[in-house]
């Protein structure tokens, strides 16, 4: 979706402000939110791409005004309500009043913590050979899906070069919509800064994205 989350190349957000000796969490509740998202995902309430999609679909004014973990909280609430694990009336009441919905992997307990500390594997068996190889010139398609996608707007319509084949991976565009893993070949594609931002751009700049095969056409 062409949401406000797709920020690459936007102007006006001001300077980057690093915080010396930044703590891992700025308030205790941030850690609770992070842990609830991780736990409910691992319990099977949703996949990681769906949770990302729910944060992107927060209204733009909310998205921009909220802190990072506030977005996680709001996205989590929406997601749990939509998937039937929590009722909006329960959120309002602050207590469970409805029966629980069974979780695919069951209740998340202390025994499950170890396994979530290792990243999941996203590579899958390909069903067709890779269409592109390193060195190929490709154009990022001019496409504007209304749902989750990983093709940033600033690359669309532009020509780059395939640098690396990253294997066949779960396709987030499908997974986010719970339409299956639909694995696709994934490539690192490099663009010249001038191709993306015009002739006045720093000539030394190169930008790469990791692009799934459906995002690309031969150029």
């Amino acid at each position: 979706m062409n949401g406000v989350h797709d920020m690459g190349g936007m102007d006006g957000f001001g300077k980057v402000e690093p915080e010396p000796n930044e703590p891992m969490f700025h308030s205790e509740w941030e850690g609770r939110v992070m842990a609830m998202v991780r736990a409910m995902g691992a319990a099977g309430a949703f996949n990681i791409d769906t949770s990302r999609y729910y944060r992107e679909t927060l209204p733009p004014d909310i998205y921009l005004a909220c802190s990072y973990y506030q977005k996680w909280l709001l996205g989590l609430e929406d997601l749990l309500i939509d998937k039937g694990f929590v009722a909006a009336s329960e959120i309002a009441a602050g207590h469970a009043t409805e029966p629980a919905k069974p979780l695919k992997n069951g209740k998340f307990t202390v025994d499950d913590v170890e396994r979530i500390m290792v990243r999941g594997k996203f590579e899958r068996k390909p069903s067709a050979p890779a269409r592109f190889k390193p060195g190929d010139r490709v154009r990022a398609k001019n496409m504007h899906p209304a749902t989750h996608t990983r093709l940033p707007r600033y690359t669309r319509g532009h020509v780059g070069v395939v640098e690396r084949n990253l294997g066949c991976n779960v396709y987030p565009d499908s997974a986010a919509m719970e339409a299956g893993e639909n694995p696709q070949w994934l490539y690192t594609v490099v663009f010249d800064g001038t191709e993306l931002w015009g002739p006045d751009t720093d000539p030394t700049l190169k930008i790469s994205i990791d692009a799934f095969e459906p995002y690309l056409e031969a150029a």
Binding site: I62, I91, L166, T201, A211
Partner: protein, 208 residues
């Protein structure tokens, strides 16, 4: 998605309201038997103790000291890091990119916040915030200036936008004046930002 009301939650000053809302959600998830609150404690504790830039720093220091390891790190970082028992397991899809006098690498996630948690810990606020995400791909030298970092104008800048599950670790250049240093001494020089590409390692003798 549901159309329930978000409008009370747009103000950072309403922190206590957020806090109440977080507690309410945890209560509901606990009462419904979805999560054991002790498991949430354990997740937070694991993040606070097991992950962090010390993991990445050990990998970088090893690459600076051991040419064979560096070669395998650049060829397949997941596999190479997997051979170091003392570093947390990273799962798949880690790629290490090397800074050289000719090329400086910088990592961003313009769409959200993808970051090599196992190597660097949870990302800092600035990494997840709009100024960095918007400008890193268009004006990386301007972003570096915000960090007080400047590069020769002929140095190529390569920005890696983490748009999929690949996670990038920048291998910074080894500081001069560190000949004969142990891996442990070298690791002390490796900063988090030097592994994102928004800073350099510390130099020997400089105040930390």
């Amino acid at each position: 998605m549901t159309e329930h009301d978000h409008h009370h939650h747009h103000d950072h000053s309403e922190l206590s309201e957020t806090e109440l809302r977080v507690r309410a959600l945890e209560t509901i998830l606990t009462e419904k038997g979805y999560v054991d609150p002790a498991a949430l404690d354990a997740i937070i504790q694991a993040y606070e103790t097991k992950i962090g830039p010390h993991n990445g720093a050990r990998v970088v220091a090893k690459a600076w000291s051991d040419p064979a390891f560096k070669q395998s790190l650049l060829a397949d970082a997941t596999k190479a890091v997997g051979t170091l028992g003392h570093v947390s397991r990273v799962g798949d899809h880690l790629v290490a990119v090397e800074n050289t006098p000719q090329r400086h690498n910088m990592v961003v996630c313009t769409l959200c916040s993808c970051y090599p948690w196992e190597m660097l810990g949870l990302p800092p606020v600035w990494y997840k915030a709009a100024p960095y995400r918007s400008r890193a791909v268009k004006d990386p030298r301007g972003v570096l200036a915000d960090f007080g970092v400047s590069l020769p104008k002929e140095t190529e800048i390569r920005v890696w936008d983490s748009t999929a599950e690949t996670r990038f670790l920048v291998l910074p250049m080894r500081p001069e004046g560190t000949e004969g240093w142990s891996e442990q001494q070298l690791a002390e020089l490796v900063t988090r930002d030097s592994m994102i590409g928004t800073g350099f390692p510390k130099t020997p003798g400089a105040p930390s």
